[in-house]
Symmetry: C2
Subunit: 466 residues, 2 copies
């Protein structure tokens, strides 16, 4: 009868302390989103297979978790197909691929971007544009699990769609700054513009291979420049183009110097010049903010996603080696695939798991994220806890989170419980206290004890806890 | 290229207003849970098929959404099985049933109770018992969608496990009272005890059919007493037993009268007498609370779930016809199936969707749940919004949720946007205001306008918004 207890690989349970820490991160992000006028939405965990497939590329499509049709799904399978497989004329992997659409019609969302695009198109008549939304929900990917990579993880997306004003980019950068300021994470916000990259690609004769070029550049985070060059050449791209491009995109200097360097290259590219203009406007806008984070133009920043068309943004925590903790950009046609073309939008996504790891590794979680209960009444059996229930109620009415230990077990064990759960104050009402209408308050951190009249217990605790 | 936009049947998108209302419900419930010392946990959306199957009964097992194995799942199918199906010696429905374990090993959770039991056993060494946890997460069921029944919906569960004290039941009832008090929903909390029901079953010679009896009684909500009797007889149970039982469980009167009526029946049943004792203790405990909700002993309350062994609880909203909005009870061996027997627990689950419907139908949502943004700056093109960005920032630093309309479109349309999004205050800084260093504040509810010095704008808004 006994079963093993295990959860699917790549997934996680979150106990109370991790939950409180995660909620601290989500609440911080959420409050900044709302401070800048973004509104919450949620979409279903499942989308139709049609909505999700063909949006992320073939490799990623394989990583989408499909949901088996309910009931008699076998009725949808193709007997002819199966016969060919049984008779080994076809490989099962190929059969698997062909069977999928016959036995599944739903899948778990892979990110929040495609469901958001679907949402906007489906609800276009109810939405007042520009639509400023945020969405904090889990996504699922059948990736190979490894350190820091999970099959279920939260994304925190914030997007404005239906406005091409650069004010939006500027405010998003200010919001990123505010989130990491509140979380106490020193951060560098790297920005670039895909139009500049497109112009540079044109200038070195790589205009037709722009998307592939950005995919290669996107790896600069993980591989060395010489490996990057090797990959470039390996793809069959001319070495000369790389030699030409590299000094521009890797130029060290001020943002102004980098723009000059790029501008020299972009005289003949209208797109490229527009990109430079956009960056200049954006830098001017954010100069009016008193940012704590460093903002830095990085002409090698590419972002691997095809739908970006303007500003791109990537954020790294300073002084710690970790992938990007936030990223995003401007897209001009995300909803086009669902029949609503030409709606420009811009957004960023915060990586809650990586932010958690940064706070954890730098010991930066505030102490308060380890505590739910503030007050615990020990249970001495005599008097019966029902006697002082009304006092506990009064403390709760004052807003203090309060427990009564339900069972009259050994006091040592009850104190151990308080310790394990990081409960700061313990109330002891034994026979003696009860006779005198008093209560003893024990500060679990300092070990100090004081005895106060029961009638003044709530006020005293409020004073202690503040 | 254009795709239809649709979501799987039985699932829902939540736009900003429903989201804010749902968050109002979740936050109210969560704050009461925490006030009584319950701690948050979360478990993965997916559990192993082994964890979920066989826990809910055969009918429910069919309603569990299974996840297709990634990659070459066809490799796991049984060619012999498929041959038999292709040659039509077996029906595809039967084949479907047999194929499931070959091509799926994970499924979406069906409730929060089984994952909680699995969590407790898996993390027993990290947990300090009694473990007071709450969990607010969606669950998925392949039920036929209908009004008020969805394939994805949230459950809000709160349980304490590892304590058999009736203090827990009492506090849960107080918490239910507090949740509905805060939400402004007049409610009746019906209680009963499965030990009393078990005793009554013994007394009328139905001891061996206790579980089936509770399943029939559980329908009393949906069908009339005469239909109930018909079903009873239809199951082959003696009519005499029903005739004997019915006057006891349907007795109208005070709780004390009901207990007397039942006690007369239970003289020879130890279990039954224990049930009466427990109810008496529980009623005494909750009498010390100043409850707003009505608590009522209902001897016909059965709850359809087999694992309940003591107190059972079900809550209905008064003055509105709606299924139960909260329910739960005491269980003595939930973790037994995972190899940790004899751990008693008690908990209840709040139905967020039904609570939403009650608040919606009675017009009881507070106005504040329709608003995110409090202040909107209109965009007159001149002065350029970048000029007054620092003023908007100052308002945000004061904690007011503020937007700047990003595009200089027609003012009429910008005001429409404010209206549609229920934004209460609009700031107008046109050429004239800018020259005079003033701003005009428009109250969107009253239409009133006033012009104030830019330097005092934040203070003025704080004063208006409070």
């Amino acid at each position: 009868m006994n079963q093993k207890t295990a959860i699917p690989k790549g997934t996680r349970d979150f106990g109370p302390v991790p939950m409180m820490r995660r909620n601290y991160i989500f609440n911080t992000i959420r409050s900044v989103f709302e401070l800048y006028g973004y509104q919450p939405i949620e979409t279903p965990a499942m989308e139709t297979l049609e909505t999700l497939t063909g949006k992320y590329g073939d490799e990623s499509d394989k990583l989408i978790f499909k949901i088996l049709n309910s009931g008699d799904f076998a009725g949808g399978m193709d007997p002819d197909l199966l016969s060919r497989w049984i008779n080994e004329s076809e490989k099962s992997a190929e059969i698997s691929r062909q069977i999928i659409p016959l036995i599944t019609e739903k899948a778990l969302r892979y990110d929040l971007t495609v469901p958001f695009a679907r949402f906007v198109v489906q609800h276009r008549d109810e939405i007042s544009f520009p639509f400023k939304r945020y969405q904090i929900q889990p996504v699922w990917r059948a990736d190979r699990p490894q350190k820091g990579r999970y099959r279920e993880f939260y994304q925190c997306d914030v997007d404005v769609i239906g406005s091409d004003s650069l004010l939006n980019e500027a405010e998003l950068i200010r919001m990123i700054d505010e989130v990491f300021r509140r979380l106490g994470i020193p951060a560098t916000i790297k920005i670039n513009n895909r139009k500049i990259l497109a112009g540079l690609a044109e200038a070195v004769g790589m205009g037709e291979h722009f998307q592939e070029m950005t995919l290669i550049l996107d790896k600069l985070d993980k591989i060395s420049p010489s490996d990057l060059k090797e990959e470039w050449i390996g793809k069959g791209f001319p070495e000369a183009a790389f030699t030409c491009l590299w000094p521009v995109i890797s130029h060290k200097g001020t943002d102004v110097e980098k723009m000059h360097k790029a501008s020299d290259f972009l005289v003949s590219s209208e797109t490229g010049r527009l990109g430079i203009e956009e960056i200049q406007t954006l830098l001017k806008l954010i100069s009016s903010f008193d940012l704590k984070a460093t903002v830095e133009l990085d002409l090698s920043l590419a972002r691997g996603l095809n739908y970006y068309t303007g500003a791109i943004i990537e954020v790294k925590a300073d002084r710690i080696s970790m992938g990007s903790i936030c990223g995003g950009g401007r897209y001009d046609d995300l909803t086009g695939i669902f029949g609503m073309p030409g709606i420009s939008g811009v957004g960023v996504s915060f990586g809650a798991d990586r932010i958690y790891d940064v706070l954890d590794q730098t010991g930066s979680f505030p102490e308060v994220t380890r505590t739910t209960t503030q007050v615990l009444f020990l249970n001495f059996k005599n008097p019966d806890p029902s006697e002082y229930l009304p006092f506990a109620e009064k403390i709760r009415q004052a807003g203090l989170r309060t427990e009564i230990f339900p069972d009259a077990i050994k006091i040592r064990k009850q104190l151990q419980y308080a310790d394990n759960n990081h409960i700061p104050f313990v109330i002891m009402i034994g026979d003696e206290e009860w006779l005198k209408s008093t209560a003893t308050i024990k500060n679990m951190l300092t070990g100090n004890q004081e005895t106060v009249p029961l009638a003044g217990l709530t006020e005293h605790l409020c004073h202690l806890i503040g």
